[in-house]
Amino acid sequence: MNRRGGGLPIEQFIQALTSQLDRAQSAMALKASAGLPLTFAVKDISIDLRAHVEVEGSAVRIVPAGPGDGDASTLHIALTTITRPMIEENTLQLSAEPDEPSLKDVLGDEVSEEEQRRLEWAGVHTVSQLRELQRRSSEDAIVRVAQLPVERLRAALTRASQPFVSHVAPDLPRNGGRPLDEPPLLRIRGHNLMQEQTPQVRIQGEQIPVLKATAKELVIAPLAHQLGGTLEVEIAPGLVSATEFDLTPLNRPAKREAAAPPSEPAAPADEGGEP
């Protein structure tokens, strides 16, 4: 629960109300299933709540009126049941991909809590949703909704477009059909790892062949001396991620590998791998 200054965000009150209706519905269905074939469903509900209304930034908070509060406001909240097709018709589908970092994870202090809250009003919880909204609407629309200065929005979008490496691991079990005496292929995981074109990947400044590229994963073929150091992924001019990694223990004679296949070590990438 998020209560500050005694007030409660109005959406939390509505959530609490709908949660009570759900529980009432479940309880009635349970009773009915014990014998009667029919139950009751809530069709409409409205409540006139006597409360004090406060506005704190972009949050509307309510404080239920206490004894003797003659000048409290009346909040008339009416809810009705809607069907799934109605929900789908009236909701802008901005799908979040699984395991996608939140806006806060990526943008950090680039957007304030207040601005993030306004973006959430527009259904934007993740970076991909922010980019999708920018693509479908425009910068102006986001600026209006989030009341973000346009320069800060551009900075946030630029930061959100940066490639980010979260994991570097050898592709040992298959190794792309390579001979055992060759160093393993490396799988690089993260997000924003590719835009329209295959990214350029460098280790210690040397170009590495990229065998496969998606926004979330790259497969590269380094040479034996390229299993550690600074890994750079450049998806466009100026959009570069730099990450330190070390998988040099994998660079060992083929016969030893064949005799005792190594487990698949993974080199967690430096979380601060920013350009």
């Binding site: 469903a41 069709k43 006597r50 004894p67």
Partner: protein, 81 residues
């Protein structure tokens, strides 16, 4: 008197509207519309926020009672799915 969660009050109200099983005529209630005063309070249970909703304890409210809300709710009969 212990305050009840709103859902408990709603279930009690709807159950009270069901005819007795031993009634002479085979009647059934197909809809129910309630317009009742309600004492609303919020109760924090851990991270959860529970909405308490109770009918007034007394016919006359005193200066020590919280301001009452008004609840209108429309129930319709439906088959179990």
């Amino acid at each position: 008197m212990t305050r009840r969660a709103l859902w408990e009050t709603l279930v009690e109200l709807i159950e009270a509207a069901r005819p007795d099983e031993g009634a002479a005529l085979p009647l059934r209630v197909t809809s129910l519309y309630l317009d009742v005063p309600l004492e609303v309070a919020l109760h924090a249970a851990g991270d959860e926020l529970e909405l308490l909703g109770n009918l007034p304890r007394w016919r006359w409210t005193t200066a020590f009672d919280n301001r009452q809300a008004r609840l209108q709710i429309d129930f319709r009969e439906r088959g179990l799915t």
